[in-house]
Symmetry: C3
Subunit: 642 residues, 3 copies
């Protein structure tokens, strides 16, 4: 189904009804509103203005539209900031990040929690049972603009409280952090500082705890909002719209609060955000890389325990990337169908009409800035609306044959101590995903510790800290299990494991790592054997009692196998990665199909969807019974078959 983001407060009230009518006519069912409207809801403390919002909701309701209401906490108004400047966040340099855009608060401020609870209570109690209300969105894009972590006085206070609970005594903290190193020991929790702005590298264990502390605060803050909403809004669901490529907090934990996950899909903007090569960025500038949106769809389907929305879908050029090209004709439709193929329940465009003022005025909408004229993307959305009506309900998404274990903490640990400057977890996971998808395989994202029943192949690109639950799940699976480099390389306190890496995975993998080499960009080590290619960035030196399937040039093990468990001892270059995933797919007896770089397929129930991101046509498999599109899948086209 389709949705749209709408800001009645941006438009004259006399266009609301026409807007609502046109939305309904083009097949839109859900309208998200309200998430940045605090200054209109409460222009002065305790002075609430509900009338306009009452009327806006009524207009939408009258046209049969369902409402998603956002809590307005991403934009505390100026009067509140002036009353309580302690809610403002601080950057790593200790500088206040001020009022004037959005997300100007720290999760550590007790004042902020109190004020957030107050406004959420106000909104939820007024509209919680509104007949047109379908559900809620908490806040907006936690962590966007580097706002997951703040480094100010309120943060320090909250961090000390958190450490007191976690460690009970300074001695236990000193022991966990290895503070004896460099005389970093403390005698009281009040001696702890935020681990930034030190002369050289700060204690990595302290940094990891700081990250966990902030991540846990976000989940708890979100839970606080959810509890208030649930009290006032029985029977309505709650979601949050996560932002792409933000790994600064644990999305799995926030997902626990929610009825389902949603995310904001800006496929083209993200091309400049992910560390692609310049060549890739040029190739995919006007379509996006064909795995960016799917990667997130699959991730948030996981976070949402099988259910997710695209809450904001890019409808044309945006404004916030270094360059903002117009998407190739057809891409807005393609992205929409692709989201549905990956199981999205609703795809909601951002936004109904381009706003002709303030920060995002160069961001396209489904309509041009003035009047009732659809943009290029608007016409494509309209077409999807028609196609959806014609096709009727889509079958449910099934469990994929492949699972990827995805872990936020691994991102934090590798950013805290990369050891090699280009060891980026996000990139490793994305490239593994891409390689699987190039084989036409569907992939589920699973949380470490989740039961892995029913998968033929489980891949763990890296899991730096393996807790007991995660270990148990990996031990228990009968799937072919591929474990990537640096897994198990730290214990829960960010200490080197006593038995060396991969720590608790030694028995499972049959390996013990005695040395690690990080390789600057010009360096590469050859790998040959069952798989062939090169190791770059990171390689390990293994003592192994497993079978050695491939070796580095001098004979050391590069890929090992012990029972159903494979271990890869390096960062694979593209050739090696392709070879590896093909090999594993064969070992797991998966049917696969090597796709051109610009084609991707995905199944939903009995349907197969195909998408063409490139410049050349591709023939759908013979025997396909098409229900949308043509046998020759043209550039920027979609095909669906049984």
């Amino acid at each position: 189904m389709l949705g749209v983001c709408y800001y009645p407060e941006h438009w004259s009230e006399d266009v609301w009804a026409r807007d609502a009518q046109r939305m309904a006519e083009m097949g839109i069912r859900y309208v998200r509103i309200g998430e940045f409207a605090w200054s209109r809801i409460e222009p002065r403390r305790d002075h609430f203005e509900w009338d306009w919002l009452d009327r806006a909701m009524d207009v939408l309701a009258r046209h049969g539209l369902k409402i998603v209401l956002g809590t307005p906490t991403a934009t505390p108004p100026k009067w509140l900031v002036d009353e309580h400047p302690d809610i403002l966040p601080h950057d790593e340099q200790g500088q206040v990040r001020g009022f004037g855009s959005r997300r100007h608060y720290t999760f550590s401020s007790e004042t902020w929690w109190r004020e957030s609870a107050r406004i959420v209570e106000a909104v939820a109690s007024r509209y919680g049972e509104h007949p047109a209300l379908a559900g809620w969105q908490t806040d907006n894009e936690y962590g966007c603009h580097d706002t997951a972590l703040s480094y100010g006085p309120e943060d320090l206070k909250a961090f000390r409280r958190w450490l007191r609970l976690r460690y009970q005594s300074p001695d236990q903290l000193n022991e966990a952090w290895g503070s004896v190193f460099w005389s970093m020991e403390i005698c009281s929790f009040d001696e702890v500082e935020i681990p930034v702005r030190t002369v050289t590298e700060a204690n990595p264990a302290a940094r990891l705890d700081y990250w966990r502390f902030q991540s846990e605060q976000i989940a708890a803050y979100d839970r606080m909002q959810c509890e208030i909403i649930r009290k006032h809004s029985p029977g309505r669901w709650i979601t949050h719209n996560f932002m792409g490529f933000v790994l600064d907090f644990d999305h799995w934990a926030v997902g626990d609060n929610l009825d389902f996950a949603s995310w904001d899909s800006y496929p083209i903007g993200f091309v400049e955000k992910f560390p692609f090569s310049e060549e890739e960025r040029n190739r995919w500038a006007e379509t996006s890389h064909p795995d960016i949106a799917p990667f997130h769809h699959d991730l948030y389907r996981g976070v949402g325990r099988g259910h997710f929305w695209v809450m904001e879908q890019q409808p044309g050029p945006v404004n916030w990337a270094p360059w903002n090209p117009v998407p190739k004709p057809g891409m807005v439709r393609l992205w929409t169908w692709e989201a549905l193929a990956h199981g999205a329940e609703v795809v909601s465009y951002f936004r109904w009409r381009q706003v002709p003022f303030a920060q995002e005025q160069m961001h396209a909408g489904l309509n041009l800035p003035e009047g009732d004229e659809l943009s290029v993307g608007g016409h494509e959305a309209e077409q999807v609306g028609r196609e959806l009506r014609k096709l009727g309900d889509l079958p449910a998404s099934k469990r994929a044959p492949v699972a990827m274990v995805f872990d936020y903490q691994t991102d934090w640990t590798s950013r805290i101590q990369p050891q090699g400057k280009d060891f980026r977890y996000e990139e490793l996971a994305f490239r593994w995903y891409e390689a699987l998808r190039r084989l036409g395989l569907d992939v589920d994202f699973v949380r470490p510790g989740e039961v892995l029943d029913g998968y033929a192949l489980v891949v763990v690109p890296c899991l730096s800290i393996v807790d007991e639950k995660a270990l148990a799940a990996l031990r228990k699976t009968n799937a072919k299990l591929l474990v990537g480099p640096r897994s198990g390389s730290r214990d829960r306190n960010f200490r080197f494991p006593e038995n060396l890496a991969p720590g608790v995975l030694q028995e499972l993998t049959g390996n013990r790592i005695t040395q690690v080499s990080t390789l600057r960009p010009g360096l590469r080590e050859n790998v040959s054997g069952a798989i062939k290619g090169g190791a770059v960035r990171w390689r390990e030196y293994l003592q192994s009692d497993a079978d050695v399937l491939a070796r580095f040039a001098k004979g050391d093990p590069a890929l090992t196998k012990k029972g159903n468990v494979y271990y890869l001892a390096c960062w694979p270059d593209e050739v090696l990665l392709t070879s590896l995933m093909r090999n594993l797919a064969q070992e797991a007896r998966l049917e696969f199909l090597e796709l051109p770089e610009h084609i991707r397929i995905r199944r939903r129930g009995g349907l197969t969807f195909a998408f063409n991101y490139g410049t050349e046509a591709w023939d759908v498999p013979s025997g396909a019974e098409l229900i949308l599109g043509e046998k020759s899948l043209k550039p920027q086209e979609v095909a669906i078959w049984r």
Copy 2:
């Protein structure tokens, strides 16, 4: 005529007379002094020491030299800074920019205005009627070292005052800025903050107002100095020495205060400042790019309403660029003649003698650091002196056939919201100028709104905000009028125009822009038709009822014509730009001459000047009646003919 900058306070008094005599002998007529001498004029508050300056001026006068006196406000002394630290500027991070170099004040400080008035009054009342005094220079290089904008508490106070006057009520400010977006509304002007250090992008309308506010302050501050000077110094002119490639404030507005404009010409240093390619930087490292000095000569002839000086002429290697090569032999002479060709009334070298201490000791002068020995540049200046004496008075500069509308605010708007990272107004204007000059055309710079009578061709590289006066002038002209991309793309409040871009230019151009694409460096769109080449960086999607002269690859209009008005819907690459300007010159029935990249020509009255920046000779047109130079114009040589 020639001039020189001199610092009697840097030298033992016993060399002054010999210096003055040698200046006079080499044909120097004007000497600028005093602009950094506050600590010598007033070493302690209200303790003035005039004697040394009296004597210095008398020595110069005795040798027939005319004096240009600078107000010393670019260098407030330490005792004043310690008394009033509120005069210090703040950088964008809010950090104080301290004492110890120059320009350490903010235009927002009321204390600073009071103290400036006091010292200007003191100097002007003492020397205003000195018989050798020709005129005044206010301050020194406004805006140099990023000093046009400051971001401290004094700035905030002054900004709030300015906004109160401009908007009368918070509601009107909220409306103008679109503050409803992201709940940025304010209830009182005291809630406004400086639009920096926000979590993500600040409101662009607030940023533009902040820029206007600071720019207006500079013009008003300069006007304050001028008014004091005029009171005490009847019959003397006033100028200011602008710095090259500083667009942070509106030079047209400061020009309004002045009798004529002047600028500081460091052609080689600027090669590293402008965004040239590395290849261009290498090619022009030792001569400068052949359009850098001319671009500024023509700009400041415009700002000076037909009159300008070069107040500081590079005399050899300087000290402040990342690399500081020795200019090729002949270049100091070439630059001097070139300035004169573009209409300069005086070319004044910086400086008489290289100073052997402090920040600029590696900056060449006309003389070596000690004694009476001319440097290489000094000998070249001496040669120009002889040549000038031989040639006599030069004819007056006439109106050029081509006008370029040049606008500072467009620079600010495109830096506030570039949309594509490499959309730089300064670069666009410079490249258009270069293309015109490669056709041997003379160019005038005109202010938006200025009457355009008498031009055959008017080019507007970009004019983001078109006010009524500017629109009237464009409507009225009969010249061929070329309007560039992004013109009319915002209203006065930095809002998207209601009728879409180009806003108020829709009727004139016959175009309406529905989408804009910004293209990363690897991308290029083909253009063909009446002009051929590529679009890079920026392209627009037009609905047009004008004639379409050239199209993008898929058929959309790239160049349109409605009556005498041409509209270019993209950033042209070099090939397209050359093709465009040749086409326009033909349409405007201009005689032109395609010059090699290293040759430029310029007319002054009935004389034509030619300059060779390259490594190969060039033959002057047959029939030229040479009055300086030879038929074969050798590298680094000058020719003048009738």
Copy 3:
């Protein structure tokens, strides 16, 4: 002899004895301890815990190991920082550099001196006469992590005190600094500011004085520690472990306090620190560049007046460079032998066992993190131990035939006013050293002003300020003396010399420099004559009454000779530099041997050592009487012959 760094406080007491026994067995004689243990020695103010350290020293002593005790001042504990936050350093932005790593103090704090004296007194008085104590290390790696200079309120106070002593009156300071320029004059020392955070470049003379002030403080602080130690520890030596490629303070001056010098040799980490080309970095990533360790060995042999240790020797991959590759097998042994070849008296590995927690857990040790298992580097160290036992005492190092005059102040002056962005003294000196070593020549480093008797060739890559003593030494030498560009280019107050550069060297060299050109990376000037190649980065224009041996393309002198003095008027590219050094070696009648880029040789007494850093074997000279290694010197191998 071999040594090792050990941290008893990091390990359970029950492993100490076994560790000590294993050290002794593998030939280790010295153990450095204690330098980061303040929080264990004095966990609370005046509450000293000596027992553990008493026992640790006794255990080591019992196994015949000699102890090097470090003063723990590099790591002031948190309770002290909280008591006296004024000891913390500030960065150039004025921001506090906080507790949480190491070196978090400024040398300017009087509190810090008092506290340092107190802890040094406590440790020295307790252990000064311990029978196993061989000697002391003061602090740890002065200047590491950019800690030589601090920019806070304590620094300003101390700087004003220092200036008062140096200049006596504000007028004399104004005169020395040329403060009249830009009205920078002061009336009282309390008006002086730290020369940072100015609007544009600060006064270079002030900056140089600031650097000298901080450098002198470091030497005085070190002297304070030495005096306390000497009082309590008669008969024991004192050293300091300098860090590679740190030129921020004058190591010669600190060396004056010490009995000998030592340094911390991390050959691979330094590959990323020095400005090598990417191609070089890739080539030497896993071995280090073959001149990095030797350069420092020779430098610290000079600083130690003929005596030095390697206090910390890299034993495998480290953790702190952008990439940290595993050294090629054999390199740990090679580096150890190489240090000995250059005269090291002890090579002490960092560290005994890899620490499994905190910042350096990815830094290899001689043992793996847990238990008694040698790492790859540990096995190589063990082999060196065996080889040393077999070979017996090595002969003493003799004076080398070539001396390089090395000066820290020249580094500061060229960083303060580079004039060309890539003029880096460190790089120039290193490249000259490399060129000499490629000819198989041994090199001594000498301090400016040191007597130069006994050298055949003396090279001065650059000596910006030449004091009387340095001039006298250069005048007096009969060696061939090669003086490099920019020498003598400033007087002691950082002023241009009155007679032009090379100032006091004019008579000696026969040259006078009238212009300097700095060349951006794409530019190069040809040089031909007695030497051939190119000038890059920097070239001078000379008036010369010396013989001109080589000229630039247009005929200006590039290399001159007056008596025994050669002057090079440019930064030589690799070809020119090779040509130059070969020419000079011939002129000095030195025997030399052109070595491949991966081979280096070095003599110690009657022995010659050879080292292979590359991938191809090299034959040792015929007639060599080998005492270690083989005729064919394989990659990563060592040979020693008579």
